[in-house]
């Protein structure tokens, strides 16, 4: 059993709640987005802002080869994508 990673949380009194950090090992992923299904909700950017960027022109730009450190956040982005339009492959 690995040591349990304690996540930041709101102290009692409801002050300054903190969002959870993504969990998982760093890993190199290749990212692709199915433009036939993406409807630009931008949830991916909420999860992984260094990888996905919904521009002022309404276009989604993304890093197809993100850094290993971004792996857990990219996986979370793929999980929460409303349109399930993000495909991940493990980079070699």
């Amino acid at each position: 059993m690995p040591e349990h990673v304690q996540e930041a949380h709101a102290p009692v009194g409801f002050a300054a709640p903190v969002l959870p950090r993504p969990v998982g090992e760093p890993e190199r992923l290749k990212v692709s987005i199915d433009n036939n299904h993406c409807e630009l909700f931008g949830l991916c950017q909420q999860e992984a802002p260094t990888v996905f960027d919904l521009g002022p022109d309404g276009r989604l730009r993304y890093d197809a080869n993100p850094k290993a450190a971004d792996g857990p956040a990219v996986r979370q982005a793929a999980r929460v994508c409303p349109m399930q339009a993000i495909t991940l492959r493990e980079a070699r």
Binding site: M1, P2, H4, V5, Q6, E7, A8, H9, A10, V12, F14, A16, P17, V18, L19, P20, V23, G24, E39, L40, F41, G42, L43, Q45, Q46, P49, L54, G55, P56, G58, R75, A78, R79, V80, P82, Q84, L88
Partner: protein, 405 residues
Amino acid sequence: MSSGRIAVAGAGLGALSAAERLRERGWTGEIVIVGDEPRRPYNRTPLSKQLLAGTRQPAELRLAAHRDVDATWVLGTSAVALDPHQRSLHLGDGRRLDFDGLVIATGTTPRRPGGIPFGRRVHTVRTLDDARALDAALGRARHVVVVGGGFIGCEVACAARDRALTVSLIEPREALLTGPLGPTVAATVTEQHAKAGVRLHLGTTVTRWEETGRGLRLHLSDGTVLKADAAVVAVGTEPRTDWLQASGVQLADGVSCDPTCHVIGPDGRALDGIVAAGDAATWPNLRFDAVPRRVEHWINAIEMGQHAADSLLAGPTAAAPFTPVPRFWSHQHGLRIQSAGMPALGTATVPLTGAPKSGRYVLGYTRPDQHGTEILVGAVALDAPRALIAYRDQIGLPLARRRAA
């Protein structure tokens, strides 16, 4: 908890997310997932949208677990009883499943009020089988009636209009989605449905249903009689917790949990080794207050499944409270509706970006804390996904601090 067997009651998104997180945390013991549907976890959100519109096929709904969860799947049967002290589940097929840890993620079932002739013409939508039956019914119909102006009802109305059907939508309140979104956004969405040709019967209810060999006749409270070929009833859900009645765990509109997702036992204390997640769980989100609530959002099933898994491994004393920013989306007649936080808790609204008249805006929902400071409890974006991003992280914080930042 470090070894043994973790059982998961339910085989939906919350169950899958919990199993995946257990493996991410290095759980090497057994995971057994029990679900009544004869299929592995799938994405329910297209059932009221793309599946009916024909832009997604059933085979595309399977959820990819991003890790190999290496679980034993017990499908086509469900847990029918829990003994929290013996740590065992009793299954519908007569088997007993002993466990060291348990995740309760049995979801909800649509409300089915009495007096409605459910069957070939009258449907609810929750499972893939429900959606297939509705799809077939829409294929035979010209006029479909949707009862209930919440998210499922509105989305089905959109899909049916996309199929060029005549659609009547019946909602007891004066606008669609008033409950979750409040009057300003509700007015925008209602106008969008009217423009798309949905025949709105607002402020009305169905007082009597008749089914004849030729179709349905719905008698409305304002005296109108609607003839229809098919109907969809989307008037809310009930948590699937009947099977827990005799277990002694606390139930109150769902499985009662402490702030960490641990299930509360007969003595009012958190049960070590039993957690709950998803639509069936009610817990106090300390980001907002100490009031237990259910959150029936797809993303919440993911996040709560993950957190419940963490809490199970940590135990009730060491586990952290689950304090997410609940989020959802909907797409209706080309209008993207997105929410962060809990807008329904707001006692006032404030425009954050754009003007409501423009139809493209972010509206903030606030309520005062015990000192009278206005706290941002929710934000809803209409066709403004980029503008919403900044507000997600402000949910639960004073509005003034946001401005100063």
